[in-house]
């Protein structure tokens, strides 16, 4: 399946991927609207920085995903593309997935009420290429099928 | 039947005589002792039959739409230039740039032809030009070709594989049909070889039959062979080479 591959050698730490991600996951997908939202969507990729190293990191969509296995109420599933998706409507924030994620790419979002939500990359189901990849000005993210 | 002796006639006078004959209702004209007079048949629209004995000059049948011209011998350059309809049959060889921008009608040549045969030949709506060459062509056959059919029969050579540089260079429409195999090294950049389909053959069968009849060639022998089809790989071969100058 196609996956976002990370090229740390090309990441320039601009973090536009994070921006593109939260804009994509906002209701209007308008950059200024998204910025002005009271509770901004959480970016699902995050730029890990320790200069000169920097890289935008997001879910690897494991073939045998430990997070999916660990989920206590079946809120994580694979969609038809093979992407590992969190059903944010049913997630209860038990963080089992976080505990099992080998990459540390699932984030906690506790801003929405009683239950926390595990937030992670969904490979932008509404787009041909994920927003982070499209937004990367330096080709540090590649949307590619390497099996 | 009108007979014209063209010996030492300047082309303008000869062509005047031909037009006079056509205007006075002649539908069969024979021209003897033709030596290089230009523009025979230029712009003629009537369904006349013109027999040429000798060697007609350049631009034979240019802008023609209707007549049938029979050349009993060789012909020179620029035959059927921008021709719209009618037929030219050459019982010999012909020169360069045959069928340039031809839009309709047929040209049948028994022997070899020169460079840039059918350059920029095109078809439009019902107009569909057919050119059949009995021998071989010079380089750049079918250059810029945009429509119609060029058939190369290569009847007189021993070599089974057709080899002629830059076939179909810049071709973006129409088809070239070659009897036998084609050396892919000799193709232009924009074309590819595919196998001939039954419907391609049906499309030209009638014309091949006519060709063989006109030039007294054994149709069955011709049809026994295998054919190769050359078509353009895309109808916009240079799309990516040009960009909008105001792109951001």
């Amino acid at each position: 399946m196609k996956l976002v591959y990370i090229k740390e050698d090309a990441c320039v730490e601009c973090k536009l991927c994070e921006l593109a991600c939260y804009v994509e996951h906002s209701p209007t997908k308008d950059i200024l609207d998204a910025y002005e939202m009271e509770i901004r969507p959480m970016p699902r990729c995050e730029v890990d920085v320790e200069l000169p190293y920097s890289a935008s990191i997001m879910c690897r969509h494991c073939i045998d995903a430990p997070c999916l296995t660990a989920c206590q109420n079946g809120s994580i599933y694979k969609d038809e593309r093979g992407a590992v998706i969190v059903n944010e409507k049913t997630c209860v924030g038990c963080w089992m997935c976080i505990m099992m994620c080998s990459y540390g790419v699932i984030k906690r979002d506790t801003r929405h009420g009683y239950f926390g939500i595990s937030t992670k990359c969904d490979l932008c189901p509404e787009r041909e290429t994920p927003a982070c990849v499209d937004s990367c000005p330096n080709g540090a993210l590649l949307y590619d099928d390497r099996g | 039947m009108k007979t014209i002796d063209a010996n030492k006639l300047y082309y303008k006078i000869l062509n005047d005589q031909i037009h006079d004959a056509v205007d006075s209702g002649y539908r069969n004209i024979a021209i003897n002792n033709v030596y290089g007079q230009y523009y025979i048949g230029d712009g003629l629209m009537q369904p006349v039959k013109i027999d040429i004995n000798g060697i007609p000059g350049n631009d034979l049948g240019i802008f023609m739409d209707g007549p049938s011209i029979y050349v009993h011998g060789d012909a020179q350059d620029g035959i059927g230039n921008t021709m719209s309809g009618g037929k030219i049959v050459i019982d010999g060889n012909a020169g360069d740039v045959l069928g340039y921008s031809m839009r309709g009608g047929r040209i049948y040549v028994r022997g070899n032809v020169g460079y840039r045969t059918c350059i920029h030949m095109k078809s439009y709506k019902d107009d569909f030009p057919i050119v059949i060459i009995g021998g071989r062509t010079g380089e750049f056959a079918g250059e810029y070709m945009a429509g119609g059919v060029l058939v190369i029969l290569d009847l007189f050579s021993e070599i089974n594989t057709y080899d002629c540089n830059f076939i179909g260079a810049g071709m973006h429409g129409g088809i070239i049909i070659v009897r036998g195999k084609v050396n892919s090294d000799s193709l232009g950049r924009e074309v590819k070889v595919t196998s001939l389909l039954q419907e391609d053959l049906l499309q030209i069968k009638e014309y091949l039959f006519e060709y063989c009849q006109e030039l007294n060639i054994n149709y069955n022998n011709v049809m026994k062979s295998r054919f190769t089809k050359i078509i353009s790989a895309t109808n916009r071969p240079y799309k990516n080479l040009y960009i909008d100058g105001f792109l951001h």
Binding site: - | Y10, Y11, V34, Y35, G36, Y38, G54, I55, P56, G57, N58, D74, Q76, D77, N93, G95, D96, G114, Y115, G138, E139, F140, N165, D185
Partner: protein
């Protein structure tokens, strides 16, 4: 000076006509066939230039350089003759016979001089190639006259050869020079349609230096660099016509650099690199060498040329054949022309008639025995 200012004829897209033939047994014939042939291609010219070169024109002076010069006036003639007398020992001189014709109103003076170099001291400085000292002397002489003497132009300077050319249709020029009265074993003719160069007497074809004479249909788009290349070898190009470079290039490449005629043809119209890549190593090396050394001698742009040379005739078209050339053969005579009708119209029942491929030289050479008879055994002819 010789420029025809009344050049108001409508411009048709056509081009020049060229025609020529050679009898490989050296049989001399009148120029009638050549005149007829070039005249059949009337529409390839516009009356602004025509000319003929006749090989074998002066058998009685075949060991002397036959120098044809046109003069604007007698002043130029006097100046030239004074200069010539210091350089040449002249055995015969005189006006080239002409006759009055209806269509040619004004004309310059035509003179021919037969002679040999008087001294060879001038050439010592430039003797860097294995070249014939006398030939080199004559080339320099012609250049000097063309360059330095106002109103005088050397139009041919070979042995046993004459060039007759001027402004007019070929039939008029033929009539004026009484071409029918000359006999030659090789003829070339030109019917001119000048475009970017002035229609003046000196600019008519054939262009000739020593035994080279060239008629040309087309334009040499590489003229600028060909000229600059030749200038490095001390050729002065002042005839204002692109064709001029061809005769000098032949002189440089073949006579001075020792290339064969076919190698020179390769330099003029080489195959494309893509084609060269497909060749065997020897061929590839050879052509690559020629292309790289003689890139500046490549003739680029549309052309078909006939080249008369010492002992033969060559036809050549450009590398993508933008100009026509047809070759016919009957017995020991080879015909070349722009149009098939121009051959078929003058010769019946040819043995063979064909169009050579782009860049493919067609060379007809005198038979060795004939060559030996004409030029003497020691006198080298051109290597083909």
């Amino acid at each position: 000076m010789f420029i025809n200012v009344s050049n108001n004829l409508p411009r048709d897209i056509s081009g020049c006509g060229i025609s020529g033939f050679i009898n490989t047994n050296g049989r001399r014939s009148s120029g009638r066939a050549c005149v007829d042939s070039i005249c059949m291609m009337r529409d390839r010219g516009n009356g602004l230039g025509a000319g003929f070169a006749v090989y074998g024109a002066y058998p009685e002076f075949r060991n002397y350089y036959a120098i044809h010069i046109i003069y604007q006036d007698n002043k130029a003639r006097e100046e030239t003759e004074e200069y010539l007398s210091t350089k040449l020992s002249i055995v015969q001189r005189g006006g080239i016979p002409t006759k009055k014709t209806k269509n040619i109103q004004s004309r310059p003076l035509f003179f021919v001089y037969f002679g040999k170099p008087r001294a060879q001291s001038d050439v010592a400085e430039i003797d860097e190639f294995r070249e014939d000292q006398e030939d080199e002397f004559i080339v320099r002489l012609a250049m000097k006259i063309n360059e330095n003497i106002k109103g005088a132009y050397v139009i041919s300077s070979g042995k046993n050869l004459g060039v007759f050319k001027g402004i007019g249709f070929p039939e008029d020029i033929a009539e004026m020079f009484m071409i029918d009265d000359y006999k030659g074993y090789c003829w070339i003719a030109h019917n001119r349609y000048p475009t970017n160069t002035p229609g003046w007497w000196g600019g008519a074809h054939p262009f000739s230096v020593l035994d080279w004479s060239v008629v040309h249909n087309g334009e040499i788009s590489s003229y600028g660099i060909n000229k600059r290349y030749l200038e490095m070898f001390k050729y002065n190009l002042n005839l204002k016509t692109d064709t001029e470079v061809i005769s000098y290039l032949l002189d440089l490449l073949v006579r001075r650099h020792g290339l064969s005629l076919k190698e020179a043809a390769l330099a003029f119209a080489p195959p494309f690199w893509t084609q060269i890549e497909k060749m065997n190593t020897d061929q590839k090396n050879k052509i690559e060498k020629i292309r790289r050394i003689y890139g500046s001698a490549m003739l680029n742009g549309p052309f078909a040329i006939l080249v008369g040379f010492k002992g033969g005739l060559m036809g050549l078209s450009d590398r993508i054949k933008l100009r026509p050339l047809v070759v016919g053969q009957k017995g020991d005579t080879t015909y070349m022309a722009s149009e098939e009708s121009a051959i078929v119209g003058v010769v019946k029942e040819l043995d063979r008639i064909w169009s050579p491929n782009a860049g493919e030289p067609v060379i007809a050479k005198l038979k060795p025995a004939v060559s030996a008879r004409l030029f003497g055994k020691s006198n080298k002819t051109v290597r083909v």
